[in-house]
């Protein structure tokens, strides 16, 4: 199973593709008796003795035994602990309703802001952007967001968004942007100073010195979704030389 999967790392797979233990796979007697275990990440699921691909994308592998499908999905499913950009849609009693692009709206308590008390309410208007974290993300329950971390600090979260532009990109691009040594981010840094807020739900907020520059960054981000690194670098170089 391992070798079959490893062979295909980096290939594009489609839902319905399957891997099965070939008959040629034999157990070696000399090896230690530990059976190989495989961790199937997003996009791969087990069905009997086969592995089924359930999402279209590129097969990725992380040593020693993790496999997953890197997809350009746009649909967001909330997960506990992930930080997202939400739009406040309603104020009802002591909670705000927040749209984060999922199937349901999340609730955000007005006490879940830094320094908020019953008397000292945070200033949040309908239509504001919030950067918040999921504390409840369960398929049977209403998702719940907070704008504080465990110790009650804002830690970058809260209401934001004056003067910038909100765009939607694929979840794959967001992960690439947030990766520790993201080459995409490194490329972007060379262009001009800009401010980014990246939510795991595929929303990215951009602000640069001028409207023109903000638009450039936004359009660049939206277009690099489907580009190879070399194409992207070429494009970025062209923008840089354009003297914008």
């Amino acid at each position: 199973m391992f070798s079959v999967l490893k062979e295909r790392v980096g290939d594009v797979l489609l839902p319905g593709d399957e891997f099965c233990c070939g008959p040629q796979e034999t157990l070696s007697l000399t090896d230690s008796g530990k059976p190989e275990r495989l961790v199937a990440g997003p996009g791969i699921r087990q069905s009997g003795d086969r592995l089924l691909v359930s999402r279209s994308g590129v097969l990725r592998h992380k040593e020693p035994n993790k496999f997953w499908i890197e997809s350009q999905q746009r649909r967001y499913v909330p997960a506990k602990g992930e930080t997202v950009i939400g739009i406040v849609t309603a104020k009802s009693g002591d909670v705000f309703k927040v749209d984060f692009g999922g199937s349901e709206q999340a609730s955000l308590s007005y006490l879940a802001f830094e320094g908020a008390t019953k008397r000292n309410r945070p200033n949040v208007q309908v239509g504001d952007l919030v950067f918040a974290q999921f504390v409840v993300a369960n398929k049977d329950m209403e998702p719940e967001l907070v704008c504080i971390d465990g110790s009650g600090r804002a830690n970058g979260m809260g209401v934001f968004g004056a003067g910038g532009l909100l765009i939607k990109v694929s979840l794959g691009l967001v992960r690439r942007l947030l990766a520790p040594h993201s080459d995409l981010r490194a490329d972007l840094e060379k262009l001009f100073p800009c401010e980014l807020v990246v939510g795991m739900n595929g929303r990215v907020w951009v602000r640069a010195a001028s409207v023109q520059q903000t638009l450039i960054v936004a359009n660049l981000l939206q277009s690099c979704d489907t580009m190879t690194p070399s194409q992207r670098q070429q494009l970025f170089k062209r923008v840089q030389q354009g003297g914008l």
């Binding site: 295909r8 797979l13 489609l14 319905g16 593709d17 399957e18 891997f19 099965c20 739009i87 849609t89 749209d99 692009g101 199937s103 208007q125 239509g127 504001d128 952007l129 968004g161 004056a162 003067g163 910038g164 532009l165 909100l166 907020w205 409207v211 023109q212 903000t214 638009l215 936004a218 359009n219």
Partner: protein, 431 residues
């Protein structure tokens, strides 16, 4: 499902950008997004892409009894469907305000402008007329559905062919397309709708608003016009006050846009016609990729293998030697080198079975059988073929051939060179 709300920051940014004469996708104020018109494999099926907005129109016809008030006129029916596929905000089966507005505008644009000769759709006066039905489906909504829908509807109508009918006395026969060529509708002119969005109480004007621009606009002016600059319908919504000069200017802008789009439709229709005449795939059918295997698992097929060894060796022994002369290399197409007749690719070519080879020189088998064949060859002929691949970028490859020195000498090293030849030829096959 509710639509994604528009945040305050987006609204502010958009308005600021419009003030600075900038648009989200880098267009100028009067620019349309890229329009792409494709036709389906059937007559009367048209897809229109306006940037990310995508609309499909399908025309169909039916013989019905006419309205009593107009006994010798055909009936036109328009229907615009806002499917949830286009946007989560659209609901199935419920007439929303937007859908009523778009349906009404489409009807005014195409039916009330009398762009189609309805009298020619009459078969028997008072008894049988053609009813032409135009169904417009929205596939994706990124703003300005009206313009996309009007372009799709009129292109589909131009593309449509209705079956021919014959009348013998009382009897009406509808001929199938095989019996008689279907007839196009007679279209007098092509009305096309152009949408203009107004911002800040009419201070700023944009042509072809995208979805986010539509959300922040104050008013919308939809002008349907044909290329003879005749206004077919005009509708203002959103409740803004427009000056006479503004409306005049808008109609001038619309006339320019309409003539551009009309040219585009005509070009698309012409392309489709030539493609159809040539018999090739056209329109939407062209984009359906074929013959790609995406699954990794293939069923094993058992192959009868008994007696193969004997057959091969008998063939090797009995086979006649091919001519000693080494033919000059052929270049059937750039990128494919070929030496001799032995490994000619005979895909789709009727091949006569000749006795001296094991039939290995056909198609895909050739790749596998090459080796075998070369082994076979070693008894009688050796072509030492060395093909040096030059750079990949070059269209035509340089082919260097070292002619065989002597047969005896070659015999000794036959097997190795044969293998080599096989290896290189396999390389070619891959290309």
């Amino acid at each position: 499902m509710k639509d994604t709300p528009l945040s305050n920051c987006e609204r502010d940014f958009l308005l600021k950008a419009i003030e600075e004469k900038k648009r989200l996708d880098g267009r100028q104020t009067y620019d349309y997004r890229k329009i792409k018109i494709t036709f389906g494999s059937d007559y009367g099926c048209c897809f229109v892409d306006l940037g990310q907005t995508r609309v499909m129109a399908q025309v169909s016809c039916e013989l019905v009894t006419p309205k009593e008030s107009r006994p010798n006129e055909g009936i036109m029916f328009f229907n615009l469907e806002l499917s949830p596929m286009a946007s989560p905000a659209f609901e199935q089966g419920r007439q929303s305000e937007l859908s009523v507005k778009l349906n009404r505008q489409l009807e005014r644009c195409l039916r009330n402008s009398k762009c189609i000769d309805t009298e020619s759709l009459c078969v028997v006066s008072g008894e049988k007329v053609w009813q032409i039905r135009v169904d417009v489906h929205t596939l994706n909504n990124d703003g300005n559905l009206m313009d996309a829908a009007s372009v799709a509807a009129i292109s589909a109508l131009c593309h449509f062919r209705r079956p021919d009918v014959g009348i013998q006395g009382e009897e009406v026969t509808v001929y199938s397309p095989e019996e008689r060529d279907p007839i196009p509708l007679s279209i007098y002119h092509m009305p096309i709708s152009v949408s203009l969005a107004f911002f800040q109480q009419g201070t700023y004007l944009l042509v072809d608003p995208c979805e986010r621009e539509e959300r922040v606009m104050d008013g919308l002016l939809m002008i349907a016009m044909n290329k003879h600059r005749e206004i077919c319908s005009i509708q203002s919504s959103g409740g803004i006050m427009l000056l006479k000069e503004q409306v005049m200017r808008c109609s001038k802008i619309a006339s320019v846009k309409v003539s551009e789009i009309t040219d585009l439709i005509n070009k698309a229709l012409l392309n489709d016609k030539t493609a159809r005449k040539a018999g090739g795939r056209c329109g939407f059918a062209e984009s359906i990729p074929q013959e790609r295997i995406t699954a990794l698992k293939t069923d094993q097929t058992s192959v009868e293998m008994t007696g193969v060894g004997e057959t091969v060796s008998s063939i090797v022994q009995t086979a006649e030697a091919p001519p000693q002369k080494v033919p000059s290399p052929l270049l059937p197409v750039p990128g494919v080198g070929q030496v001799g007749e032995g490994m000619r690719n005979t895909w789709g070519v009727e091949e006569e079975e000749d006795g001296d080879s094991s039939g290995g020189d056909s198609g895909e088998e050739a790749v596998k059988m090459e080796e075998e064949q070369h082994k076979e060859d070693k008894s009688r002929k050796v072509d030492v073929v060395e093909i040096l691949d030059s750079e990949e970028e070059e269209e035509e490859e340089e082919v260097v051939i070292l002619y065989p020195e002597t047969t005896e000498k070659a015999k000794n090293k036959g097997s190795s060179s044969g293998q080599k030849g096989a290896a290189t030829s396999r390389k070619q096959q891959k290309k």
